[in-house]
Symmetry: C2
Subunit: 303 residues, 2 copies
Amino acid sequence: MPQKEEIAFWFTNLQNQICTALEQLDGKEQFAAENWTREGGGGGCSKVILNGGVIEKGGVNFSEVFGLLPPVVAQAFKLPQGMHFFATGVSVVLHPHNPHMPIIHMNVRYFEISDGVYWFGGGIDLTPHYIIAEDARYFHENLQRVCNKHNPQYYPRFKQWADNYFFIAHRNETRGIGGIFFDQLSENDQQSKQDCFNFVKDTGNLFAPLYAYFVKRHAGSPFTQNQKQWQLIRRSRYVEFNLVYDKGTKFGLDTNGRTESILMSMPPQASWPYNFQPAAGSPEAHTLQLLKKDIDWVNYPCP
Amino acid sequence: MPQKEEIAFWFTNLQNQICTALEQLDGKEQFAAENWTREGGGGGCSKVILNGGVIEKGGVNFSEVFGLLPPVVAQAFKLPQGMHFFATGVSVVLHPHNPHMPIIHMNVRYFEISDGVYWFGGGIDLTPHYIIAEDARYFHENLQRVCNKHNPQYYPRFKQWADNYFFIAHRNETRGIGGIFFDQLSENDQQSKQDCFNFVKDTGNLFAPLYAYFVKRHAGSPFTQNQKQWQLIRRSRYVEFNLVYDKGTKFGLDTNGRTESILMSMPPQASWPYNFQPAAGSPEAHTLQLLKKDIDWVNYPCP
């Protein structure tokens, strides 16, 4: 049965592998690493790439934090006060220069509390500034394939979970085209702890090849100033989601994590024009119409 | 005793007076008004000014909403479920072009629930991109003067309340130089409902002359691209405060208010460079050092 040390060690390796792959894809800049420690226990390593060839701002963070479970977190998880916890994970958010490239997010995490309760969580989701059906299908097909390797119920369940989780309620729109999201995954009659960990590993390993696909297709596409402006508006919705709804961000801020690492997900720039409405029939309006839950992207008709 | 209709009526007048005053100060653009209704009861009028001579993006919002108290709000206020509420208020946030001009926020509000419980709330606070001691002193002296007209305990209490409220915990910095903030103000042995309302009126009426002072002093000051960039960073902290901590924003989003009116406070642009640290001894570093609670601005030494 994998212990927390083994899981954390695998996560640090994942961080390194992803950074190496992203540096090759970016072709210009390298990640800068910063280690940090957390008052109360643990710490992490933030790896950041800025003003690259493809990536305008990106972070690949590893953390391993432990200690007394902060009261506000205990309350949120409906756990008794005074327990100890251990949490480790890798989190990636990449903001590309090119508005035809999507924003991508991946996270794998492991959480354990002192009475032996543990769970895994994770997910990958995509936030295209411009939704392209063919890309969305490719993305979801790959997630489905990896899920099906482990459990045929995973993809439908985790796809729906992502639709519900990455939802900006006050805008009545999803953050992007979703992906998979799962939490509190632990052993049961059908799966061992090792099975859970294996699924988490496959999720983490899928990230780099998926991103490679988008770089190859879109990183060199020409774009206009209006498309860049639209990107800044979509980024502002990303900010709204992360600061208002995202549980990982909230957990990080509540546990006195390193602010600049937690808010690595913030875009380099964002824009909030008042009450922006894209022109009817425009690609921007088309994208807005597709920011909905429950779209079956795997079977979505592609032109 | 002022009834809710009288209070709401006074608030609509305040909105109009502030807009008229701001249009004169701005000298270029006028406010555009948009009326909206709320599913569940009530509505409001958003007045927005964009790309003005002084103001890059500003909103002066009036709202009057009522109906069944949303469960999540009842819980937050520790009220029983199933009650009716009435809430009215005026809210102002102005983002200027010039980084030497501060961001300013004012809010006055009245809240009532069906069993006859009511309270007033409000405040004015200032978020300079560059803190200038003389301005900060002028600002706080005026707040103190208005408070002292009503109750000598108001200024010290409400100044501290603002320091604690407008605080970005995850950055360990205040949003700006504070001001006054008060909530749940209602009648007691010392003051009638009319007294409370009179104080709220004086708070509202102070807004326009205060802003005039800053326009006169700073709206025409020359600035550099680096100063503009610093403004975008300070704006990102403003976004963080409003989306993570601000109770008015949360209340608005939770009660299905009009999103574009609630998020009127978002800046036109904002920037999150990674781990920005101003050079030691720079004006930016000086400002960061002054983003602290408990600075006695009224008695702060001015050069």
